[in-house]
Subunit: 133 residues, 2 copies
């Protein structure tokens, strides 16, 4: 438990310094990126992140203010939005990638065997699934 916080904090600092992006923001950009052109709803984004609705509203506001994402009203539900990366956002994400992977390696993955990595992945997936349900 403590270990995971230590890792996250170390990565956050690395990413912030080298790419000017907080870990949480990087994560959001990565998820939004996967949604591609058509965009993603904040609610769906929240499912993939660790934020609550309110936290997400603010994070999205920040990313939008930075010009990294754009939003448009969802055509099928006027309450919601569709978020997608801007060109600038894609660039930021691309440029952050090397540092991101380096940092993951240094603080986390490089210390694990293949077996351990796999065990962690399946275990945490199961745990997250249990709590969502």
């Amino acid at each position: 438990m403590v270990g995971s916080v230590v890792v996250a904090r170390a990565m956050d600092r690395d990413l912030q310094r080298q790419a000017g992006l907080a870990l949480a923001e990087h994560h959001l950009l990565a998820i939004i990126n996967e949604a591609g052109e058509q965009g993603i709803r904040p609610t769906d984004l929240a499912l993939g992140s660790t934020l609550t609705k309110s936290g997400l509203t603010r994070a999205v506001d920040r990313l939008e203010a930075l010009g990294l994402i754009g939003s448009r009203v969802c055509p099928t539900d006027a309450r919601g939005q569709l978020l997608a990366l801007t060109a600038k956002g894609r660039q930021k994400l691309r440029r952050a990638a090397p540092e991101f992977f380096r940092s993951v390696g240094q603080h986390f993955a490089d210390h694990l065997t293949e077996r351990e990595t796999e065990t962690l992945a399946t275990a945490f997936e199961r745990i997250a699934a249990a709590d969502r349900g």
Copy 2:
């Protein structure tokens, strides 16, 4: 990574509701408790927690204001303090214990096999050690 945050948050809510104690505070109390009568230095406490010096100062202030811990000037180094639980702090910790273990089980441990638990423990210990060094 995400999973661990989800678990921590869930436990934090449980503990806050049922025992009136944040997870981070519970963790600090537990470490201080282990130090026993003689107390522990804030710096040593920081090593076992996820907080920085400043965060720790504030957390300690809070716990002290709540009457859960007491501090005295360290006899061998006038810059520092020795922190120890008060009777009230010990009681709070004892009363929180059942909920704490229940919550760990529900959100985390119950979803893992023995083998997985062991793998996680050793892996994270190694990781934390690497980053401290």
